[in-house]
């Protein structure tokens, strides 16, 4: 009979949910600075509020949530927090922010290779054909482009509906609602994909914690972001 001593330690609930972080003593590298992590989580919380309150305005079956207009107030507050924090981050770290935005637009032949090899990798786990990746891999760059593109669309159409309702024509208003909801659909699908890849996908289990404490295992960094890993190693940290 097994005694209490020989029982393996129970996995903490959060580890089961998000995957385990690097084991103690394992070599880690710095992946995300603190200000980037805070930006990410402020953005994430605001996005959830925006998503839920916006959903009430899209699906009549959930229209009860929008009744009275209070969810619209939360929608506006979350929008201001989201945009405001991003602007503050940008003003506080202009160099890093611009560099970060440029990452989304740096595409090369390894990105093409990534796109070709990605299906076999993400479905079957075949790593062989995956070309070495930078700090952001091709998929992350695509997600970043979606965030920048659809995010700008949401800000522009949202501002039109909020501040310029009385100025723009009725048709321009309806088209603003249209594109706001189109952006909503795009962001919903890609957010699901984003959460899936950073929390659920069997090959990515545990990377969630890098957005929590900034550290990622060196092993993971080397296999998933070879070019970036080699660079930071060479520059000596």
């Amino acid at each position: 009979m097994a005694t209490a001593k020989s029982k393996p330690k129970a996995t903490p609930f959060l580890y089961r949910l998000f995957g385990a972080p690097p084991a103690p003593g394992e070599e880690v590298v710095e992946r995300y600075s603190k200000s980037v992590r805070v930006l990410h989580w402020v953005n994430a919380v605001a996005w959830v509020v925006l998503f839920v309150t916006g959903f009430f305005f899209v699906v009549n079956q959930f229209g009860a949530g929008a009744q009275g207009g209070i969810s619209g107030v939360f929608h506006r507050i979350a929008a201001v927090v989201m945009v405001g924090w991003a602007v503050m981050y940008f003003l506080g770290n202009p160099k890093t922010a611009i560099e970060g935005i440029r990452e989304a637009f740096k595409w090369g032949k390894d990105d093409l290779g990534w796109l070709k090899a990605a299906p076999a990798y993400y479905i079957l786990g075949e790593e062989g054909a995956m070309p070495p990746q930078e700090h952001m891999n091709t998929g992350q760059k695509m997600w970043w482009l979606v965030v920048l593109g659809a995010g700008s669309l949401m800000i522009i159409t949202g501002a039109l509906m909020w501040f310029f309702k009385d100025i723009i024509s009725a048709d321009a208003f309806i088209w603003s609602v249209f594109f706001h909801q189109a952006g909503f659909i795009i962001l919903f699908a890609f957010s699901l994909l984003h959460v899936y890849l950073s929390v659920v996908h069997p090959l990515m289990r545990g990377v969630f914690w890098s957005m929590w404490n900034g550290k990622i295992s060196a092993k993971y960094a080397e296999s998933h972001h070879k070019k970036w890993y080699d660079r930071i190693k060479k520059n000596g940290k």
Partner: protein, 258 residues
């Protein structure tokens, strides 16, 4: 239930505007501040607190000047843009055919204001917080569902306004239009309005749109984007679910083989 409607006979209207007052009185609507613009027409536009008004139009010149009066209010469309876009079902079709309104449900989004081809609903409230309410004629749904006529009809001294079954009123409108050599407005517009007009001239002359339509933007949004959205959501969920099932199996087998 057979559709109910209001019949407005422009040829009988004297622009006394008793209907405007009766509407305010019954619906407990405060007066709007207005300014004299050199016309008897007052107020000059609908507001969140003014749900019906008489529009004055001068056509031609003396000695052939015609002074035309038109009732401007919710037309209670069958194909109603406002009902299509309302996210909370605050605006809905009553079983009597008209566009009823449940104010408590209104979210203040203002979509109805922009989707109406007659520019009828108005919203009042705070623009910054968005805490506001749309308002428009409800055809006195509280009155007519209790066997009364709408307040504006009740007060009309010349018989220019009439309330009743839509089919009977339409027949009456046609015979009256024949009598005066005019025309009926509202029979087929927006698949049938629940406010029928007897006009002595073309609707444009009275300031009514000749061919009102739900804006194309509303149709594309409601009939194309919404189904596409559900499709995208379903495909995303399905795709990720499938990926998980396959990847989990494949990747486990691989690591076991190592």
């Amino acid at each position: 239930m057979a559709d109910k409607a209001i019949l407005f006979d422009a040829s009988k209207c004297t622009a006394c505007r008793g209907c405007q007052v009766a509407c305010k009185q019954w619906n407990d609507l405060p007066a709007d501040d207005t300014t004299n613009k050199g016309t008897y027409e007052n107020p000059l536009d609908l507001t969140a607190n003014t749900w019906v008004r008489i529009k004055f139009t001068e056509v031609g010149d003396l000695p052939d000047l015609r002074w035309l009066f038109t009732r401007i209010s919710c037309m209670h469309c069958t194909d109603a843009g406002c009902v299509q876009v309302c996210p909370t079902d605050a605006l809905y079709h009553h079983e009597d055919g008209f566009v009823a309104y449940d104010r408590d449900k209104c979210s203040g989004c203002g979509y109805c204001v922009e989707a109406c081809p007659f520019n009828v609903p108005r919203s009042g409230g705070n623009k910054i917080t968005g805490m506001r309410k749309a308002n428009k004629c409800t055809m006195c749904q509280d009155r007519i569902t209790n066997g009364e006529t709408p307040a504006c009809v009740k007060t009309c001294p010349t018989g220019a306004l009439k309330f009743g079954g839509r089919a009977e009123l339409l027949a009456e409108a046609k015979s009256r239009a024949n009598e005066i050599g005019g025309r009926v407005y509202g029979e087929a517009e927006m698949d049938g309005l629940h406010v029928l007009y007897v006009l002595a001239d073309k609707p444009e002359v009275y300031g009514l749109p000749a061919a009102p339509k739900v804006p194309a933007s509303v149709t594309v949004w409601q009939d194309v984007l919404k189904p596409v959205g559900w499709g995208v959501a379903a495909l995303t969920a399905l795709g990720l679910g499938l990926n998980y099932v396959v990847a989990k199996r494949k990747i486990k087998i691989e690591s076991e083989g190592k």
